[in-house]
Amino acid sequence: MENNQNLTSKENWELKKQSKIKEKEQRKIKKILKRIALWVSVVIGISAAIFVVIKSVDNYLPGQLANNSISDLDWVKGNKDANIILIEYSDFQCSACVHYFPLIKQLVQEFGNEIGFVYRHFPLKQAHHSAELAAWSAEAAGKQDKFWEMHDMIFENQNDWSSRNAEKIFIEYAKFLNLDIEKFKKDINSKEIKNKVENDFQSGIKAGINSTPTFFLNGEKIKNPRNYDEFKNIINQTIIKNS
């Protein structure tokens, strides 16, 4: 009898011990699970943040074009707050771009405040060895508030500088425009201007551009019009659509 009682208490003790071990193990597992949950939520949180950022940035370009919003650094002719925004991705050394240069000028003149025309650089460096330098030169002139003047001179004289020492010729243009030459030379080589042109180029890549000129009218990529009247019609249709 006494032996039985002893056995029972021993068993009880053993049971208690086992339940204590079990509890300890459960606590340990709980702690491990808690740690896993903590780190998994950290990974999820960081991934979600990166995803949200990339998604918003990635969607920005078409959205930005569709919303007609123009960046601070964009060169805009006409009315930058107009309902009609025409964006051109262009290369100063491409012959098709020269073809559209007078058409755009005429359009801006004719539509006046009804449209905003944005010029963005898309120099095709491999095909046109001086295209990037031309873009930098226009930007450097822009630093002295003569972007459009330099833009026009570069397009008007494309044949002159395409086959010769372009840099020397651009400096001549700068002199003609009464720019501070030292500043102009310094700006051409500045990282700021190179970044600006590169940023334009990259935004073009993001927008799926592979040729110049490429036009976006209120965010929609349009097929290059064959002549002035066709261009005018497309814009008029968009004006009607928006009114």
Binding site: A49, V57, Y60, S69, D72, S190, F201, Q202, K206
Partner: protein
């Protein structure tokens, strides 16, 4: 447990949880902000800047070191802080929080430099860079509070 052991653990309990969570939230905001700037820089899309100047600042020579955007360094900086705070929450090892309390000085120095560049060199302000500077200053203050709480408890 010896007395020396007790005194080495005691300070752990003295760092207010609120301070730790403030660290966590601030570093996450900084990480989010720096990631946004980096993504914009890499993808070359224009900024949604509510004050004029984001593009001027980001296109400037001060926005990169070599080919690395400084914003990317910001991403790494905030991520280190965030991970170390979580590591502290996980292990309760004082090392992590002590490290952060000193590490935030790096962010403060960088922020002072970038504020100087924006105000006096480029003369343009970038909203997202200002947010980052604000977060760095907050983190620095939190770092001081951590060191202070450590001194009080010890």
């Amino acid at each position: 447990m010896t007395n020396s052991k007790i005194s080495s653990i005691k300070p752990l309990l003295k760092i207010p949880k609120l301070l730790i969570f403030a660290f966590l939230i601030a570093s996450f905001i900084g990480f989010f902000d720096a990631t946004y700037i980096t993504a914009k820089q890499y993808l070359g899309t224009p900024f949604n800047c509510f004050i004029n100047g984001c593009e001027d600042v980001i296109a400037s020579q001060y926005a990169t070191i070599g080919n690395i955007p400084t914003a990317l360094l910001g991403v790494i900086y905030y991520l280190i802080i965030f991970i170390f705070v979580v590591a502290y929450l996980d292990t309760k090892k004082r090392f992590f929080i002590n490290f952060i309390a000193k590490f935030v000085v790096v962010g403060l120095i960088a922020s002072i430099w970038f504020l100087f560049v924006q105000f006096f060199i480029i003369k343009a302000l970038c909203l997202y860079c200002l947010i980052s500077a604000g977060v760095s200053i907050i983190l620095f203050i939190l770092g001081i509070l951590v060191i202070k709480s450590k001194n009080i408890s010890s």
